[in-house]
């Protein structure tokens, strides 16, 4: 797993989560973020972020984590 891409992916996932936290319902927000990742992220990106969550995940925001679990 490369550092460049992973660092970007963590930042992107957190940013997507931060821009979808207006509902006030963690489950619904995580679903929106997960839908976004499914729709726009490449297979390799989804695999990398999932792998990161499983191995560490410490830099991901709570909503981002919940979303990645849904992938």
């Amino acid at each position: 797993m490369g550092n460049h891409q992973l660092a970007s992916l963590i930042k992107m996932a957190n940013q997507i989560a931060a821009n979808n936290t207006h509902i006030g319902d963690d489950v619904a927000e995580a679903k929106m973020v997960a839908d976004h990742l499914r729709k726009f992220w490449a297979r390799s990106m989804k695999a990398q972020i999932t792998e990161y969550l499983e191995s560490d995940g410490s830099e991901l925001s709570p909503i981002a984590k919940q979303a990645i679990v849904l992938l």
Binding site: Q5, A42, M45
Partner: protein
């Protein structure tokens, strides 16, 4: 080659629109015209051609030359037909002895002060003065030529593209009126009175030193050779012409390429061009010389490493080298280890083929386009809210707007022909709101002054648009009927509740936006209360970490006020490059097939698979920034890049260049050895827009034909090169003309089913959607419904960018464009447009300059967390304190060395518009610039070496 010989008749005065028709008799012929039509035009429409000199149908009647005088039964004298409205029952005589004598007398006076060098005059063969002299039958000049005259008046050759010879001027004022009425610059005037009257640029300045923007409207208006293209002076009059579409900005102006053989003599804006109506800017009108510049590369080249000289090879060898390298990479690193980039500078057919090559021959969805770095948030934002990834109007729609809000766009520089149309509407009284950190020309220019200039801080767009919506909702200015009928109720209620919160008020957001709350409230009221209010926006909206949220915020505003679905309103993204809309439409994005059809949709994929004969990956591919990251991580190793210069245009140059260096095979297809090509292993020579057939789609969704006017210098049009590469890769393509590619696009794209080249010939252009529901296209979108049924209000929470000013980097840098240069400058830097802007400079506020001891012209070092570069300083009160600005037209200026890899949350569109920087006075170029020049020199020497070796081998 399609030839278009259009006489382009000039009817003398503009067409009038009226439901009331009047019938009159002209030379015994009954003529019916709309009320308000001049007698001159009424006659012309009946093919009764009254001689004229000061009249032109793109200018209001002036009545100065009197050549068009007529007799009208029951009226005294001989009124000018251009200024006389046609009336019911009028009986007009246009030719008789009395009128003939009058016209000869007038022409005799003109000619008595005009050089009689017709045979050697540049206008010979295309001179209205000469034509009218012939028409009136002037046979002698009784006054002689010895009296006072202007024959020795000094010529002005200062403009790089046209000369001004006042000795030939008849002071008809057509140039002055064109500059004002058509262009809206008002750079010209008639100085002096009577015999002393002369055309004066600015304050009797040379053209180049005046406010003239070199749009060419005056040259086109001149009935003599007073204002004449230097190319015509040098080469003589053209002998045939071909109508084609400009390859610069997203306005999509049509031009007549006026030719001698295969040489373009001049580009004349096409009167029937449906986006430009015969107007142009300095780029489209004059800056076409790059197409035949000595820097053009016309031979394919290859090399194993970027540290080696290039080798000129045959097309076959280059394509075989590229395909074996790319296939080898896939064998070694996997199917997803290569990809490609399509270009908004190329045609629809070319971008379609590139993405098809990637999906079908490469077998993955790693396709992206330069719209990633400009308008990808427009696609996301408008699709989410309105259901279609496109602007809603025609350009002409602005003529029905009562209030116009321009956000983060600079139309007079970046979309000049639309800028002129907008200014025309503003002069008619429409109100103007400008939201921009910088004082752009629209804020205050002759006869135009904005009602509110909202000088928002870079990065605060969403807080600003939320505050606008807050005012509209809390003051009850929304269009409740439109919302109830056309919008999703639940989403609206949620949004209404969100936006009504007091935290979004102008007063509470002022500390973030920097906008005076009273000003913002005033602007919101103007927008909401206007009968028709239109929003025009540019990259100042999209190139932010919340670009997509801002686009949705704009759409929310239009939905809330019912400003959608008719003339004069709408959400109008001003597209940067000529075919941004088209490249997005054509499936360039990694998650969408042509027509914005998602790759995960099985039914969609099945249709494409049936026609393409391959299976298509159902997962999105990598976007450009993801490609760079993957390249640095060693999982992305090969790329095909057509017509884009990512090494210069994309942010964080050090990061991009490191990614490009890490590729094992970079194939670049371009007309020049651009910055990206210096990192390439295969160079495939491209064709300029003059050398190819195809279509561009402008910002109005208007599909315009691009027509080949000269043979491709390298022997192949770009679509042919992609086809050959695909065949070399083992995926067969067999198109014989771009029209066949368009037929395939129409077959697979629901919004294009009615588009084909025959229809384009017939209609001139077509605005998509064009299908069974809209067989003639769709000038205005969303009239009765949205593609998603009802309009969707999206909640747009303001999330501050991570990029903020600090003690170390206290200024905010924002980047943009200038009139005379275009994008990365690869084209315009190779033209005389360099006369206006031969280097990028850093604009900064006088206070920021004084704090740093900087004066105009000083070298200033600009440092951000991404990198450092050096430019000259330009002290400018256009800037607000704390905000600095530059352009990125010159590679050596390194503007993108400073910009960061921050990007829009939804689309990864880079945040070019907000970079925290420090600026200090320095004495030498930055280390990056020193490295750049060294690398550039080396790459140019590799090019030279390869060419010399080939030349020797030929000898």
């Amino acid at each position: 080659m399609l030839q278009h010989f259009d006489p382009e008749k000039d009817y003398g005065t503009p067409a009038q629109v009226s439901e009331n028709l009047v019938t009159l008799e002209i030379d015994g012929v009954s003529v019916t015209v709309p009320e308000g039509t001049s007698v001159l035009r009424a006659a012309s429409e009946a093919d009764i051609n009254i001689p004229k000199l000061c009249a032109s149908d793109n200018l209001e009647a002036f009545g100065s030359c009197r050549i068009c005088a007529v007799e009208i039964e029951g009226r005294r004298g001989t009124p000018a037909s251009c200024t006389t409205p046609a009336e019911a029952g009028m009986k007009v005589v246009t030719q008789n002895k009395r009128l003939g004598k009058l016209r000869r007398n007038i022409m005799e006076l003109y000619i008595s002060d005009h050089p009689l060098d017709c045979l050697t005059c540049p206008a010979n063969g295309n001179c209205e003065l000469q034509d009218v002299t012939g028409e009136v039958g002037l046979r002698e000049v009784r006054y002689g030529f010895e009296g006072d005259n202007h024959l020795s008046a000094e010529k002005d050759h200062s403009n790089p593209y046209f000369s001004f010879d006042p000795s030939k001027c008849i002071v008809c004022s057509r140039c002055v009126r064109a500059c004002g009425e058509v262009q809206g610059t008002f750079a010209l005037t008639i100085d002096g009175r009577g015999f002393d009257s002369t055309v004066s640029p600015g304050q009797k300045q040379p053209f180049l030193d005046s406010e003239c923007v070199s749009c060419g409207a005056c040259v086109q208006a001149c009935p003599t050779s007073t204002l004449m293209e230097k190319s015509v002076i040098d080469a003589g009059q053209p002998e045939h012409s071909v109508v084609t579409t400009c390859a610069y900005c997203g306005v999509g102006c049509q031009f007549k390429a006026e030719m001698k053989g295969s040489e373009v003599i001049r580009m004349v804006p096409y009167k029937d061009g449906q986006a430009n109506h015969g107007h142009s800017c300095v780029k489209g009108r004059f800056a076409f010389g790059y197409a035949t510049h000595d820097d053009r590369i016309t031979k394919p080249m290859i090399r194993d490493s970027i540290d080696q000289p290039w080798q000129e090879v045959s097309w076959e060898e280059a394509l075989s080298f590229a395909s074996s390298k790319l296939k080898g990479i896939q064998e070694k690193y996997g199917r997803e280890s290569i990809g490609g980039i399509t270009s908004s500078r190329c045609t629809n057919e070319e971008t379609y083929l590139v993405q098809k090559l990637i999906r079908a021959a490469f077998g993955n969805n790693n396709t992206d386009t330069c719209a990633r770095v400009c308008h990808s948030p427009t696609g996301y934002g408008l699709k989410t809210t309105l259901g279609e990834s496109a602007g809603t109007q025609t350009f002409d729609s602005v003529m029905y707007a009562d209030a116009v809000m321009v956000i983060g766009a600079n139309p007079t520089d970046a979309h000049p022909v639309f800028g002129s149309l907008l200014k025309k509407r503003l002069r008619q009284g429409a109100k103007l709101i400008v939201a921009d950190p910088r004082r752009i020309d629209l804020v205050k220019s002759p006869h135009v002054e904005t009602n509110h200039h909202l000088t928002l801080r870079p990065g605060s767009n969403v807080a600003f648009i939320n505050a606008m919506a807050h005012v509209i909702i809390t003051e009850g200015l929304e269009d409740t009927a439109f919302i109830a009928e056309r919008c999703e109720t639940e989403a609206y209620q949620a949004w209404r509740s969100f936006i009504s919160e007091d935290r979004h008020s102008p007063e509470n957001t002022a500390s973030v936006t920097g906008i005076d709350a009273t000003e913002l409230r005033g602007a919101a009221r103007i927008y909401a209360n206007a009968n028709n209010a239109a929003i025009y926006y540019g990259l100042g909206v999209t190139e932010h970490s919340q670009g997509s949220s801002m686009v949705m915020g704009i759409a929310n505003l239009a939905l809330a006020t019912g400003n959608i679905g008719r003339e004069g309103v709408g959400v109008n993204p001003l597209r940067g490059q000529n075919n941004v809309q088209g490249s997005c439409d054509m499936g360039s994005f990694p998650h969408e097939l042509p027509g914005y059809q998602h790759v995960a949709d099985d039914e969609v994929r099945a249709r494409f698979e049936a026609v393409w004969g391959v299976s298509i990956d159902n997962e999105p591919g990598l976007r450009i920034p993801n490609m760079f990251d993957a390249a640095l991580d060693g999982t992305y190793k090969g790329m095909y890049c057509q017509g884009e210069d990512i090494a210069q245009s994309d942010p964080n140059t050090n990061h991009v260049q490191a990614a490009l260096r890490s590729l094992e095979c970079l194939v670049v297809q371009d007309i020049f050895l651009n910055e990206t090509a210096k990192f390439a292993h295969v160079f495939l020579p491209g064709a300029s827009f003059l050398e190819k057939d195809g279509t561009f789609t402008n910002a109005e969704r208007r599909i315009n034909r691009v027509r080949k006017v000269m043979p491709p210098l390298a022997g192949m049009q770009d679509w042919e090169v992609t086809q050959a590469l695909s065949n070399a890769m083992g995926y067969e393509m067999n198109y014989s003309h771009p029209s066949e590619i368009m037929d395939e696009i129409a077959l697979l794209t629901p919004t294009f089913t009615g588009v084909n080249y025959d229809r384009l010939e017939e209609m001139g252009s077509i605005q998509w959607p064009c299908n069974n529901e809209a067989p003639d296209g769709t000038p205005t979108m969303h009239i009765d419904s949205f593609p998603i049924g009802k309009g969707h209000f999206a909640i747009t929470e303001y999330v501050a960018t991570e990029e903020r000013s600090t003690r170390k980097y206290p200024l905010l840098l924002t980047t943009g464009r200038i009139l005379s240069q275009y994008n990365v400058g690869a084209q315009t830097r190779r033209t005389e447009n360099q006369a206006w802007h031969d280097e990028d400079v850093l604009e900064l506020h006088p206070q920021d300059a004084e704090d740093r001891g900087l004066n105009d012209g000083d070298w200033v070092g600009i440092a951000s967390r991404a990198g450092e570069t050096v430019m000259r300083a330009k002290v400018s009160d256009r800037m607000q304190p704390g905000v600095v600005y530059t352009t990125f037209h010159h590679p050596g200026s390194g503007a993108n060395v400073v910009t960061t890899d921050n990007s829009d949350w939804a689309t990864n569109c880079p945040e070019y518009k907000v970079t925290a920087v420090q600026a200090v006075k320095v004495n030498e170029p930055s280390q990056w610039q020193q490295r750049y020049h060294e690398f550039n020199d080396k790459q140019l020497s590799f090019l030279k070496e390869g060419r010399e070796k080939k030349a020797k081998a030929r000898d």
